[in-house]
Subunit: 220 residues, 4 copies
DNA sequence: AATGAATGAGAGTTCATTCAT
DNA sequence: AATGAATGAACTCTCATTCAT
């Protein structure tokens, strides 16, 4: 019957994304359904299809939005004039942790969704708009700078980046998903400390010419 | 359909779990359905409800089974008479990675299921049977031994264990979920190398009396 | 909630087929929907799926049922001890017309459904149960007998069978679909007469040694 | 979307039909949807409803268009100065077959749509615009000429026309709908041959004064 | 004359679950 | 102990259509 809601703004899109995120947060990935979203925003399912081509598009949009937000977090460091490359890397890690623990719902969406790159094909707005990619590039640059300053002598940049990313991702994933089985659940505080510790380890490495051999000497 | 093989013992429970696991390993998480399990074991869906309260319970059992399997993987190291504590820790990490990459579906079930502890309330058979707990205990012991040998002087055992776990978990999570955005997807080989690298870092740390201060000196 | 209707008999299958046919008859092919059938028989859509694998199966079953019925019609001639092959063929045509005009709904289903052989793959109960095939075989035999008696000298059996079938099929299709644009709609009576006329033509042909050439002589 | 090409003339009607036809010929009957047409002509679905009452009306127009096309095919024979009436009739049959097999989708629309006369009530532009009627008239005239030349002595003109139409319609219907159950699917070639054969039969008939009786003599 | 916004109705299908027997 | 029969609630998605503007 076409009862046009008094929706002066066209941002039903935003409305949908908002509610979809909320739903995900409250009831988990599996219960993001078009119908539920529709009900939540007071429209019919058909209406949603006026603004999104498919459910996948909604999910991808949400996922991308998450990476956009992460990117913003990261930019803050870029601006802050930090002295050393390693310090910058360490800060990056902390910011990542902050982002994840402050936006656990987004984080879940970003890393728990099954294969979001499937829909990306439909969306290919150019890599420029893919914030996942850009976030990774940011990390990679940080690592490269470290190498330039003498760190990570024995590993290539992607491996080192992957390792560093793994540490922070692993932490927040365990924390968010509550998989740490000991009672005093790890907090952001702990994660930050772990990064500090990790950073210290990496710093030492700079002063050893070739870790592969020198360690054998030490151990021997 | 008739009543099929008269399993004198009432361990239809085992049968269900067995087939559920098989299904799951063959076709992935998403296709575990009560009907399929029922068909596979030659009973009707209704029968399954005589042995399990809900599908969730089956999933929880499977989830626990995953941890049991992980535990088995880990036991192999325990048996192998390895000399040093750090070597043992490093091996533990590699075994963890192997387990995850060889059983990605289990790993998903173990770490991606929403809040498995929900069903645990119903089941609480005592921590003894909770293999998740036991696996963590194993890791914790490894770390403790490292401390006993002079490593990890400045961090408490849980923090260090958490950090180490984060690294490996982060790696396999990124690999399994395919979230690494650079083309040459990281492999088990890479993950192992990362562990080696990580191990080297940790080994160095032993020879510095107090990383917190000494580093400042070095950096200064 | 499993309210078991007092359905002592298991023939919900029949019920479904019956109502599906009725629906088709009343509202046309496009409105055979699972939901409508379900509503009509007082069950939920899900129930229908306990008895049929898919909508396609229902349609195929209906289609096959039609051919089964046609086959029965045809069998009557087989029993009736008719003297000549041509007479038998002519009678076959009339019976076909009778069947179609007495069961127009079935006929529509049999010849208006899009590509029923698609589902047959799933159903392959062996050609023996495919009544479409058997009906055609019946026609083919009739034609062969005609050839044995000297008719259809210049055409092979399949071509002749196809031609004869075309005549009757064309007639009933035009009649049932009401595509004949002149006012006094053709009736079964007319169709029968046409068959008679057609039969006379064919009978004549027997007495001409080679129609291909002799006609040129005549015409010339 | 803006208002696109300002077609000064209001024949958006033509535009719609044109595109509908194109769509239809390219993708088949089932994919004529108002939306697709609208998209194709650069207007919104709503606009279409300013020019057509319903989708059915569009289909009817298309259906009529089919008959117009068939009429054109037939006109070609009219122009070709063919000698005899029977030859003309035979040619008519072949042309009909050609039309149907070259435009199977049109043919479906023309003869498979449920009751196109339903919409005709709304439209009654007089028989003059009804090409179905005119096509039939054409056939009828051909048959009448045959009678004038001594054929079809024992049947009235409508019956003979109906019979002849049935043959060709039956053939193409069976071919298009793929209902011929033997493997070597009949082709246009075969259909043409069948017409030839049929024509030979009819030609013979001319030389028998009264088929009804003479045949009894022959058979006796 | 044209549209943007929206809908209601519906499609086929699948699932976990229940309950009388 | 086991099942046959059934359901309700979902699912994603598509369509023809309407109406205020």
């Amino acid at each position: 019957m076409g009862r046009p809601k008094t929706n002066e703004r066209e941002d039903i899109r935003s409305l949908v994304l908002e509610k979809a995120k909320a739903l995900f947060l409250k009831e988990g990935y599996a219960s993001i359904t078009i119908r539920k979203i529709a009900r939540a925003i007071g429209y019919t399912p058909a209406t949603i299809y006026l603004y999104f081509q498919s459910k996948a598009e909604i999910l991808y949009e949400l996922h991308n939005e998450g990476f956009r937000l992460l990117y913003e977090y990261k930019m803050k460091i870029g601006e802050a004039g930090t002295s050393g490359a390693m310090e910058r890397l360490r800060n990056g890690g902390k910011v990542y942790i902050d982002f994840a623990l402050e936006n656990p719902d987004y984080y879940e969406l970003m890393f728990n969704m099954p294969e979001p790159r499937n829909f990306m094909n439909m969306h290919r707005k150019g890599a420029a708009e893919d914030y996942a990619m850009r976030s990774y590039e940011f990390l990679r640059q940080s690592v490269q700078r470290c190498k330039d300053e003498g760190y990570f002598k024995d590993v290539d940049v992607d491996t080192a980046a992957f390792t560093f990313w793994s540490v922070v991702h692993g932490m927040v994933a365990l924390i968010i998903r509550k998989r740490v089985p000991y009672p005093q659940a790890p907090t952001r505080q702990l994660a930050h400390e772990a990064i500090e510790f990790f950073g210290r380890l990496m710093t030492m490495e700079r002063f050893v010419s070739d870790t592969r051999n020198s360690l054998k000497v030490i151990e021997g």
